[in-house]
Symmetry: C2
Subunit: 84 residues, 2 copies
């Protein structure tokens, strides 16, 4: 069912886009006091496992969204370590 891949891609866009305002805010304000390192580390571990699972399912929405989300989370962790 081709339209189901569309639904998956819309789902992927929405749940990935939700992180963007946080990344932008942190990048702009260079302040990470209220950011939980462990929460982002747990999220990144989960997202990387979702990526493995998505490759196994050969699901483009799962693969794409978890590649982009893992880059956003890595950038958050980088900023957390850089801007104490």
């Amino acid at each position: 069912m081709y339209y189901m891949e569309i639904i998956g891609l819309i789902a992927a866009t929405l749940t990935t886009a939700a992180y963007v305002p946080q990344v932008y805010k942190t990048w702009k304000e260079k302040s990470t006091k209220d950011i939980s390192l462990s929460m982002y580390a747990v999220l990144l571990s989960g997202v990387l496992l979702w990526l493995v699972y998505g490759i196994y399912l050969e699901s483009l929405p799962i693969i794409l969204s978890n590649i982009i989300t893992s880059m956003l989370l890595l950038f958050m962790l980088f900023m957390k370590l850089k801007y104490k």
Copy 2:
């Protein structure tokens, strides 16, 4: 591959568990000033579409994690509207 479902379930547990500290903090402090209504509304829309997609894929990890995450997000939205 049965062990791939295990990887999916671990991924589901990690990315769902990451929301729990935020829900607990908000429930305990009854303060939602810094919580973005639109971010949670966007996340909930995305998670509900992931649920549809997971049912189509017949993927237990995707179905379970998105049912639990949507309940956590609904509770966050409820608290956002209740505790201004």
